[in-house]
């Protein structure tokens, strides 16, 4: 049982199993499944960014999809201008990070309440959607890259071997890159939550006032958590843009921004594995339903989501874990509750 392993042991086991799986899957799966999984990996990175900032730092951000999109746009613009993907990946992480730092400064240093943070990040996303949609005129250029309004930026160069643009990733390589990126992001976040920084974030989620009285500048830590999450989301956007070879404003759309929230909520707030599970289940469902037209996907997602908020507010993974632990200790309560996260 993995429970008896130490943390490094668990992580090593996870890396071993995932590596074997990632290497083996392209050998057995059809190409369309490989492409679909690559997309799900990119989405999972987005879900992890929200799982971190919402589930652990207690900040409900509607803007993760926006940072995802900004990362994608930054990657696309840089890659088109320079023809090499390496600086473009850096830009794809750096631009959303800086944007989040600036935006977050105003939001967190004004000490806005949780609900106002939710609203203002939503508004940011909506306005980005509208603004990027209106950039169809040829004067909206970043170097050689036309923003292209609602049509987006087409023909984005894929990831290549550093310094050698002619050696670029095909579908299988992209699958490996996306898969190992997801694994790396997961390990990084797991590790960061074990550091002092991570513990401060969880403390702040549980009782912000107390942390402040203990001398922690909660404004700064909230801003840092927000910025880290934006960097992760931006990186997810880089992977997504690679998958698509294309980026357009639909990533800023309300329906798209909605998705990470549903994945995290349903998988389990206050966990990292839950949101990945949620992403796998729901984005696969969305892709399958997208093909047929009988049932509108928003209708279904909205119904599932409202149902979970009302009846299973903890999400799948914590509910299962509580159930198992409840059986083992016969009624003993779990100390690792996730319900405090939403406040």
């Amino acid at each position: 049982m993995s429970r008896s392993l130490s943390f490094p042991g668990q992580m090593l086991a996870l890396v071993a199993v995932s590596t074997v799986l990632l290497l083996a899957l392209p050998l057995v799966l059809e190409i369309d499944r490989i492409l679909q999984l690559t997309l799900v990996f990119a989405f999972s990175i987005l879900a992890l960014s929200l799982a971190f900032v919402w589930g652990y730092a207690g900040i409900f951000s509607f803007g993760q999809a926006a940072f995802f999109g900004i990362g994608g746009y930054a990657y696309a613009a840089t890659a088109i201008n320079l023809g090499d993907s390496t600086p473009a990946i850096v830009a794809g992480v750096l631009v959303p990070t800086l944007f989040a730092a600036l935006f977050g400064y105003f939001v967190f240093y004004a000490r806005l309440s949780k609900i106002f943070v939710a609203v203002i990040t939503l508004v940011m996303t909506l306005i980005l959607y509208k603004f990027m949609g209106q950039t169809a005129k040829p004067d909206y250029m970043i170097g050689n890259a036309r923003l292209g309004g609602y049509n987006g930026i087409p023909a984005v160069p894929p990831i290549n071997v550093p310094g050698q643009p002619h050696l670029f990733a095909g579908p299988d390589e992209m699958f490996y890159i996306a898969g190992f990126s997801l694994l790396a992001v997961y390990l990084l976040l797991r590790w960061s939550l074990r550091t002092r920084f991570g513990k401060i974030l969880v403390g702040m989620r549980e009782n912000e006032k107390r942390m402040e009285l203990l001398g922690f500048d909660t404004r700064l830590y909230k801003l840092l958590a927000f910025v880290v999450a934006a960097a992760v989301a931006g990186f997810g956007g880089v992977v997504f843009t690679n998958w698509n070879a294309f980026i357009d404003p639909h990533v800023f759309q309300l329906a798209f921004s909605a998705q990470p929230i549903i994945w995290v909520m349903i998988g389990g707030l206050g966990t990292l594995a839950g949101p990945i599970l949620g992403t796998f289940i729901l984005s696969t469902l969305s892709l399958e339903l997208g093909v047929q037209k009988a049932l509108d996907i928003n209708l279904l997602l909205g119904a599932i989501f409202t149902f979970f908020v009302l009846l299973v507010p903890q999400g799948i993974i914590p509910t299962i874990r509580n159930y198992l632990e409840g059986r083992r200790t016969a009624g003993g309560d779990s100390s690792e509750g996730a319900t405090g996260a939403r406040g």
Binding site: F60, F103, F106, V107, Y109, A110, R111, L112, K114, I115, F116, A118, V119, I120, L122, V123, M124, L126, I127, K130, F131, Q134, T135, Q253, L254, A255, A258, I261, M265, L295, D296, I297, N298, L299, L300, L301, G302, A303, I304, F305, T306, F307, V309, L310, P313, R342, G343
Partner: protein
């Protein structure tokens, strides 16, 4: 100059109108209704459907739309919102699930296309410039609604009961009023006002399942920057942001209108985190 003034006034009125229902629900009940945009959208669909089936446009707009959306509000409150009072974040999430659900339902029923309603009233001239008379109707309706809500909350028994319930529900219950009904009624009134707003604006915007998204950004900014005082705060915020939006649109170009609005809101909240209401005396409405 006159034309710019009218445009600004019209933007301000539109902003105040789409925010009023949200402001009442948030200000009175501390519920951030993320399905607000969909209530506006349902209002627009009500007037479009009623009118295209032969009903008089004014009756469709001022009677059918608010009644129907008010009913939707009652259903929402009874089925979902009432279980989550006091948990602001959960009400936000649940109403937002409802918003997706309603968008999906309307898309499935009516298809993802824009339907139009012709703008009633003609146009008339001031100083050689033609303006649509409908713009003045919007300004008039907004002023009338704000005045009516102010009067009801301040001067009538119903308004007093509503304010008292929000202040201290157990005291009100001890005096023989069921607070549950008051909550439902308040939510329904907020929803009905949103429906009316959506209906009044429908001839200008067209009717589309996803039209709510175009409104909610502005409505949310207006309400959170307005702060505690439901009417005065919302009106001031609408005035401020309507002016910023319209002046930027005229001076630079329309793309930057809403960006300026967001930047304005961020700067303002940095200076006045409690919203514009902190400029007024406490207990202002």
């Amino acid at each position: 100059m006159v034309i710019a003034g009218i445009q600004i006034l019209n933007t301000v009125a539109g902003l105040a109108l789409i925010s009023l229902g949200l402001a009442i629900i948030f200000g009175m009940m501390r519920v951030m209704n993320f399905a607000h945009g969909e209530l506006l959208m349902l209002g627009a669909y009500s007037v479009q459907l009623a009118h295209s089936n032969g009903l008089n446009i004014w009756i469709s707009m001022f009677v059918v739309a608010p009644l129907f959306v008010g009913l939707v509000g009652i259903v929402m409150e009874r089925l979902v919102v009432r279980h989550l009072y006091g948990r602001m974040m959960d009400t936000l999430l649940a109403t937002w699930g409802i918003s997706l659900f309603i968008t999906g339902l309307i898309t499935m029923t009516f298809g993802n296309m824009t339907r139009g309603i012709s703008t009633p009233l003609g146009s008339f001239e001031i100083g050689g410039i033609r303006e649509s008379a409908y713009k003045f109707l919007i300004i008039g309706v907004t002023v009338a609604l704000f005045a009516a809500i102010y009067f009801i909350l301040r001067r009538t028994r119903i308004g007093m009961i509503a304010r008292a319930t929000m202040d201290n529900p157990s005291q009100v219950a001890a005096l023989g009023v069921n607070p549950g009904y008051v909550y439902t009624a308040t939510f329904a009134v907020g929803a009905a006002l949103s429906g009316l707003a959506g209906a009044v604006l429908a001839p200008l915007t067209g009717v589309l399942p996803t039209m709510g998204a175009a409104y909610i950004g502005k409505a949310f900014i207006t309400v959170i920057c307005g702060g505690e005082a439901i009417l005065a705060g919302t009106a001031t915020a609408a005035f401020l942001f309507g002016t910023i939006n319209q002046v930027t649109t005229i001076a630079l170009n329309p793309e930057f209108g809403e960006v300026a609005l967001l930047i304005g809101a961020l700067l303002m909240l940095r200076l006045l985190p409690e919203g514009l209401s902190s400029l007024f005396k406490r207990k202002a409405l």
